[in-house]
Amino acid sequence: MSDLTERSGGEDTTADPAAPAAAPGPQPAAVDPRLLVREKGLAGYVDDFARRVRGGELGSLPVIIGLIVIAVVFQFKNSNFLSADSLANIGVYTSGLGIMAVGIVFVLLLGEIDLSVGSVAGVGAAVWAVLSTTHGVGDGLAVLIAVVVGIGIGALHGFFFAKVGVPAFVVTLAGFLGWSGLQIWLMGKEGSINTPGGSVVEKLTGYYFEDKAAAYGLALVAVLAYAGSLLLSARRRRAAALPSRPLGEILLRTGVVAVLAFAVAYVLNEPAGARGLPLALVLFLAVLVIADYVVRRTTYGRQIFAVGGNAEAARRAGINVTRIRISVFAVSGMLAAFGGLFIASLSGGATKNLGAGNTLMNVIAAAVIGGTSLFGGRGKVWSALLGMLVIQSIQQGLNLLGMASEIQNMITGAVLLAAVVIDSISRRTQKTAGRT
């Protein structure tokens, strides 16, 4: 009873800005530690952060620290690392593999793995090249067919996994071999087809919006959209009497995003030799934004998380687990084929070993390094971007230092191992912290 009166007392004083921070909030959710955090101001954020780290919710923290360390180390070793040219290169080289990594993030959220993405990328590029050069299919149509072939291949993997019950690891390993065979067969004797001049695929990584307004405009749109969505959500939550982000936090977040967005735009536009906003980066960002939206804001995305977390619970909740699994592999195949076209664009054409070698490992490593769990049900689409940035900056930096590729492989391998170790440890901490 005294509890009740205390609470209604708290309700009365909330209108008073000078109310002591320790007073219970208007909602019974006053026990919500995150609500208390907001009332305590900056110190509260630090507490909240410490609480999350102890609970194993590291999120993107390790990778952001990693990126800063990489940038500082390489800049110290070679002052060209943070040059406009080098950064723009990272942006363009990231896009193709990054789009493939988004597909891997989907599969990892499901708690599965897709080992075939490299080969599917190769098949996608081969289909496009053969159709558009030898069979005279229109360029755009050939690109579309290549992507649809990717969807079909992914759905086939999904069928064998979800319907027949073959482990995804084995299905996609078979795919890895089989599709690279198909790719080599498609490419024929010559083994390579050069991108025709002026083709859509050439533009994928070759086209730059040279008008400075493009990069700055995109940055401005991104910042406004971000701030707008935060403000709108805060207003709706306040209207529903739910705890919402305070204005200060919204401003801080918007500020960070604005600094980053305009810094990138500046580097792309201003320095000598800068070519403007690359189309590849725009497409990669578009894929990221759409995928992030699907994963976080739609029922479909929620169902992917549910199946990745507890497939049996998802089934009992009426979710069609088979359909989700097949569709996720189809998404992975689609993005792999699309990414393959970017790789073809960068290397000037489709070849019989496009997508072979390190491609698969780099793509999976990017998703995992970016913070998506290998164990399913935890992760963000943006980890594809963060992880790809880490891998690409290491390679770019080591290239600048003139290091051999074998050293690069060893270092990338070590970074991947570190990322998986962090993932495993944070999972264990979450378990122990969870069972209180």
């Binding site: 909602q27 019974p28 959710a29 026990v31 919500d32 530690p33 995150r34 609500l35 609970g55 959500s233 709706r236 939550r237 529903a240 009497a241 739910l242 804001r297 739609t298 029922t299 929620r302 998380f305 549910a306 990745g308 977390g309 507890n310 049996e312 619970a313 998802a314 009992r316 909740a317 009426g318 979710i319 399913g376 049900g377 935890r378 979450q430 378990k431 912290a433 969870g434 069972r435 209180t436």
Partner: protein
């Protein structure tokens, strides 16, 4: 109790191959009533519950819903009628937060997009009316205690506004305090005028919250008792068949022989 029962099972039989799992079982449950379903292992409790929740269609017998006969052949039928089942092994996704778990499979949407705000608001209201205390509705279920998870699982069953809630061993894996939380919640369900079927092996729990106890033994009814005027021992006796075994049968026989001798 003069109102018609919300759910009535009459003469239910179910056979799996050579095994007769249920024979002529009858059970009635009224709104605002907690009926405990007890019985030894293999007595048919789970099978009976699965016939109600549509997992196993009945072979024989009638199911009446609010007085009219219905057929339940799929889980979907049961859900449509308003039967919600909370299974023994929790059906929650550890990685999702409380709100997402409560609405899993029934997400609220506006224009095709998840309406997180409406879901969070309604989740809080539901948890408040049930006096459920959890640290936050936005933390992953993994970081809740066993009792809190069970309570969330039960609350989840209420999202679809059911009339009958079936709880399969809700306290089996819980400690003393957590069990008390769940039993409190069962009483809250009764206050909301829901009909609750509680399967339990724990007589203390049954006597704490149930109004009536229906005993199953070897797939048949073995008595329905009012908890208020039945002793613990009588229920145990009905479960184990202590009043119907080799010893009692022999006693009955010898008594009769003695009577005849006396004559």
């Amino acid at each position: 109790m003069s109102a018609p029962p919300v759910l009535a099972l009459r003469g239910i039989s179910k056979r799996f191959g050579a095994v007769q799992a249920l024979t002529d079982v009858t059970l009635e449950i009224h709104p605002g009533e907690v009926v405990a379903l007890v019985g030894d292992n293999g007595a048919g409790k789970s099978t009976l519950v699965k016939t109600i929740s549509g997992v196993h269609p009945v072979d024989d017998g009638a199911i009446e819903w609010e007085g009219r006969p219905v057929r339940i052949t799929r889980p979907h039928d049961a859900q449509d009628l308003g039967v919600a089942t909370v299974y023994q092994d929790l059906a929650l996704c550890d990685n999702l937060d409380v709100v997402a778990n409560l609405y899993l499979g029934n997400e609220l949407r506006t224009a095709g997009i998840l309406d997180e705000i409406a879901m969070e608001k309604r989740a809080k209201e539901l948890l408040d009316t049930l006096s459920i205390r959890i640290p936050s509705v936005r933390i992953p279920v993994a970081s809740l205690s066993g009792g809190q998870r069970q309570v969330v699982a039960i609350a989840r069953a209420l999202i679809g506004d059911p009339k009958v809630v079936i709880l399969d061993e809700p306290t089996a894996a819980l400690g003393v305090e957590q069990t008390a939380q769940v039993l409190d919640l069962v009483e809250r369900l009764r206050e909301r005028n829901l009909a609750t079927i509680l399967i339990s092996h724990n007589m203390a729990d049954v006597q704490a919250v149930a109004d009536r106890v229906a005993v199953l033994r070897l797939g048949r009814n073995n008595g329905v008792f009012d908890v208020a005027d039945t002793s613990h021992e009588e229920i145990i006796a009905a479960i184990t068949g202590a009043s119907d075994n080799a010893v009692t049968r022999r006693k009955a026989r010898t008594d009769q022989v003695r009577k005849e001798d006396a004559r």
